[in-house]
Amino acid sequence: MSRVQRGSVLLSGVLAAVIFAASGAAQQRGAPVAPPGPSADQAMAALHAAQEAATALGVSLSCAVVDSRGDLIALARMDGARFFTTDVARGKARMSALFGRPSGDMADFGNSPAFQSFNETLSGPLYPFQGALPIMRNGELIGAMGCSGAASQVDEDAVRTALSVF
């Protein structure tokens, strides 16, 4: 191949690479590789099931589904549930997801001096009270669901009923 021919091939190669890269740059930002969690559809199904359980128990609850990092996937506050129950449901769910245990089992941690800084550094209040349960998939912790608005045992019962969708 002559030098001119080699130069042309090289130039074509560079141009092709630039065009390829340019079209790549115009694409949408990539989807995040997020921590494992229930799908949005599963979360909605669980919330719906919890709502039915709550209605059957004669109570109005807020319920929240979070992923394994404790980030919210979906939340629903039933008509009549007090406004702060959303925070408590989220906080119990996050508590359960972070430790992979029922939030009601975390009371001792709640009383420990470590809890305060833990609570402050993680965005959103944590509530180490009964009413949230972890969500497992094939033996792996993928998140949690918490409810608030009634007696804590009632909250937990609504969650337990709802988790049968998983």
């Binding site: 949408q28 989807a31 995040p32 997020a34 921590p35 799908s39 949005a40 979360a43 909605m44 709502q51 109005s60 992923d67 990092r69 980030d71 919210l72 996937i73 979906a74 939340l75 629903a76 506050r77 039933m78 008509d79 009549g80 549930a81 007090r82 406004f83 959303t86 965005s123 959103g124």
Partner: protein
């Protein structure tokens, strides 16, 4: 009956009536989630979010969408598949601002650094987000809540919630 007896009986009657009124006023009020006309229900909030999800999916957007009530308190929120996790709190924060101030959150963005807005944000525990992407939900002239989205450009977010509201409003005949 003499004058004095008539007056004393009148006084006793008035006191009895006053006592009854006070007694009934003292009865504990039922705890209600919200007062005011036509408060937004969970069912309505979820319908608005579903409309937003359909609109977002049609444009290949991955959003979180949140609906708050007239006080700015959260009613419902959903993070669409593959939406960035932090978009949830942003959507909620935009919606809260829109509901509290009764304005599209885009209008709040200009004054975000004012002391009024900073104080209000402190009062909510720092949850407000003064960015475009949320609009109030108005019914019968009342702000009954707001809907906010996050996950795309702020204009896309705002277009999404406006489309969702328009679709919901026409579906329910508003």
């Amino acid at each position: 009956m003499n004058q004095i007896t008539r007056i004393s009986r009148a006084i006793v009657a008035i006191m009895l009536v006053a006592g009854c009124v006070t007694a009934s006023a003292g009865a504990p009020a039922e705890l209600t989630a919200q007062t005011g006309p036509q408060r937004l229900t969970l069912s309505e909030a979820q319908a608005i979010i579903a409309a937003a999800q359909r609109d977002a999916a049609s444009k290949n957007l991955r959003l979180s969408i949140a609906v708050v009530d007239g006080r700015g308190d959260l009613i419902a929120a959903t993070r669409m598949p593959d939406a960035r996790p932090t978009t949830m709190d942003t959507a909620i924060g935009k919606a809260m601002g829109a509901a509290i101030f009764g304005r599209p959150s885009a209008e709040l963005a200009e004054r975000a650094n004012s002391s009024l807005y900073q104080n209000m944000n402190e009062a909510t525990g720092g949850r407000l987000r003064f960015f475009q992407g949320a609009v109030p939900i108005v019914r019968d002239g009342y702000t009954v809540g707001a809907v906010g989205a996050s996950g795309a450009s702020s204009q896309d977010d705002e277009d999404n919630v406006k489309a969702a509201l328009a679709q919901w409003a026409s579906a329910v005949g508003l």
